[in-house]
């Protein structure tokens, strides 16, 4: 019987199963960071348990680290403590840590792929909901809570009820200026923030095939914003080419053997999904979020919606509360929304292609005098590569701050935050109330849209600008 990518990976990882209860799944790769792990290690100590597979467990510091030039002293005592605890836990349990002085340090979902730790067919978990990012490689990757972090540390396994599968198919060809970020925002806008709850999503169709690996990561990253357990894209030659030569993948003949296996994971022709939805690429315009969840999006040439247009009373009130928090009036053209801040970074959009795309927009231009803009590369590797290409100079000359790697203003656990009332165009993944700082107002956009907004001081349609546009691997 034909099988989906998900079914193939699931079957390979079942350690134990019996009817009427979840299956015990083996976990190939466990990524750990400083914020959601201290209580898990503490519990291991209390119960006298060890980390079962230190060779499958890797840690980084990303969520609360300052993005100032290194080395620095962390002024926030609680952040400093959490970082010290992570170091101590890695030392005493024998886990490799990509510390702040490591050339491999960075956001957990940026470094996994760039080090080749992330591979097709693997089961990957991390105490972070954006673990769905790694699904771009055809891995089954999902976020877990701290109790499950402890469980995986102790047993290298997890109890999982088998989710249903949802195919999200995007047909056609993206129009110039429309990016992977716009695709996923558009989809979430259509299906809603709970639209994929209970499902593992597989993104299919020609648009996905034409995306680069980094663009696929942007799509899979935001699967959780539609409620999905995981999001994945079948491995193909683009996946294989990205991984070849990376540090943790097999080398030489072993790599070719692994690659053949990876390619065999793609969903078989005729495989059945529990549900399928189809979207047309030509319908997708650059997206801007207007509200306080990632499903509240509108086309760049659209207007802030009128809550009265929602027939469902719960949705209507939700829209009213969102507009009040965002300080927006119904009917306002999106392009008239003025900005105070611009943030280019996060596990969604802080990779080298994102920075290249944003740099191509700001080259020879300058950030509007009313805007403070920053670029936070996703990892030390991304930062080094960008500097080799001179992107740091382009950003700096245009008036952007060029900072060190970390999660930064995506969630504002470090000093990079919005002040109350500040309005930000952000390439991150969540526009929840207070996400980037108490009272801060976040609009989610793509890197090129963020860059153009920084220059203009308000949102603009990037399609009206004369910049080189790359939308996919084959273009």
């Amino acid at each position: 019987m034909p099988k989906t990518l998900f079914e193939k990976i699931w079957q390979r990882h079942v350690v134990f199963s019996e009817p009427g209860r979840p299956s015990l799944l083996y976990i190939d790769l466990h990524l750990v960071h400083e914020v959601t792990s201290p209580q898990a290690f503490e519990a291991l100590r209390e119960t006298g348990r060890k980390v079962r597979r230190t060779d499958r467990t890797f840690a980084t510091l990303d969520h609360n680290v300052p993005t100032d030039p290194r080395p620095f002293k962390i002024l926030d005592a609680n952040s400093a403590k959490q970082i010290d605890v992570m170091r101590e836990n890695c030392r005493s349990f024998g886990i490799q840590l990509f510390d702040l002085d490591s050339p491999s340090q960075g956001i957990v979902h940026v470094i996994g792929p760039e080090l080749g730790l992330t591979q097709p067919g693997k089961t990957i978990v991390c105490g972070d909901s954006h673990t769905s990012t790694h699904g771009a490689f055809g891995a089954l990757a999902f976020g877990i809570g701290t109790s499950e972090v402890e469980h995986v540390l102790a047993t290298q396994c997890l109890w999982q009820s088998r989710p249903q599968t949802l195919e999200l198919r995007v047909e056609g060809t993206l129009r110039p200026g429309v990016t992977a970020k716009d695709v996923i925002l558009y989809i979430i806008g259509r299906i809603g923030t709970g639209g994929a709850t209970g499902y593992v999503v597989e993104y299919t169709g020609p648009v996905m095939r034409n995306l680069t690996m980094e663009q696929r990561m942007t799509v899979c990253n935001m699967s959780i914003e539609a409620g999905a357990r995981a999001g994945m894209i079948a491995p193909d030659q683009v996946t294989v080419d990205y991984l070849r030569g990376r540090k943790h993948v097999p080398q030489g003949a072993e790599f070719e053997k692994a690659a053949a296996d990876w390619l065999s994971l793609a969903s078989d022709a005729g495989a059945q999904y529990d549900k399928s939805l189809v979207f047309q690429a030509e319908d997708i315009a650059p997206q801007v979020s207007w509200g306080t969840n990632p499903g509240m999006v509108v086309d760049i040439n659209g207007r802030v919606p009128d809550p009265n247009a929602f027939s469902d009373p719960v949705e209507r009130r939700s829209a009213e509360m969102a507009l009040e928090y965002m300080g927006l009036k119904p009917g306002t053209p999106v392009q008239e929304i003025k900005l105070d801040r611009v943030f280019i970074g996060s596990c969604t959009n802080s990779r080298i292609e994102d920075l290249k795309a944003a740099a191509s927009v700001v080259r020879g231009r300058h950030v509007a005098p009313t805007v403070r803009a920053m670029v936070v590369p996703g990892s030390q590797q991304v930062k080094a590569e960008a500097e080799k290409l001179g992107l740091d100079r382009i950003f700096r000359e245009a008036g952007f701050e060029w900072r060190e790697s970390g999660c930064s203003m995506c969630l504002g656990m470090n000093p990079d935050t919005l002040s109350p009332g500040e309005r930000c165009a952000s390439t991150s993944n969540r526009n929840f109330e207070g996400r980037q700082g108490k009272g801060g107002r976040t609009h989610l956009v793509s890197p090129t849209m963020a860059a153009a907004a920084a220059v203009s001081g308000h949102f603009v349609d990037i399609r009206d600008w004369d910049v080189p546009v790359a939308t996919g691997a084959s273009q």
Partner: protein
């Protein structure tokens, strides 16, 4: 873990959909290295005004809902981040049960790991409960896990579904890891068979 069998308590309503974990427990409280004491940060930005004073408009601050242990919520409760600090904060504040038409996946799972019951009822029944709670101050509900029912004091009851394995774990207060380690032989066998996988 303490078993969960039956719970009776005061109900507090939180009448908005898509309550995300950033609202349940804002980022500044994630720097904790312990599970305990997070109740003070629960719904922090909604509970407290900029001055630090209690926000009188927020439901949980109203005198009639003091001491509530059952939270009545709307669709997609607990969406967003995987932070287990969200159920930790709810539990530390005093909530044992959360009733909603739907929950986000990771949050739902995290509740069970902490001996709490996220209870799904159809949207129209949740709406009925909202009206009941708002109309009758002091409304208490009894949640009975073995029979999978919610009852009010007038004798009306609503039944709910829960996965049988999760139910068993809650009823017996099972430690997941101890349960898994009973399968040590299977885990070892799996590891031997897949030793070549990098």
């Amino acid at each position: 873990m303490k078993p969960f069998v039956q719970h009776r308590g005061l109900v507090a309503p939180l009448d908005r959909p898509n309550v995300d974990t950033d609202q349940i427990i804002p980022k500044q409280f994630l720097k904790a290295i312990l599970r305990s004491g997070l109740g003070k940060g629960l719904f922090f930005d909604w509970r407290f005004l900029a001055s630090g004073a209690s926000n009188p408009d927020f439901a949980l601050n109203q005198p009639r809902y003091q001491g509530a242990s059952i939270l009545l919520a709307r669709d997609n409760f607990g969406c967003g981040s995987s932070r287990e600090h969200a159920p930790w904060a709810l539990k530390d504040y005093g909530f044992q049960v959360i009733i909603a038409p739907s929950f986000a996946d990771i949050f739902y799972n995290n509740c069970f790991k902490n001996g709490m019951l996220p209870l799904v009822l159809p949207a129209d029944q949740v709406e009925e409960l909202f009206q009941l709670v708002q109309a009758k101050p002091g409304t208490q509900l009894t949640v009975d896990l073995p029979s999978q029912t919610v009852r009010d004091d007038a004798g009306k009851s609503w039944s709910f579904e829960v996965d049988s394995f999760r139910k068993k774990c809650l009823l017996e207060g099972l430690d997941d890891i101890a349960l898994t380690l009973r399968h040590e032989a299977e885990i070892e066998q799996y590891e031997k068979a897949h030793a070549s996988v990098a």
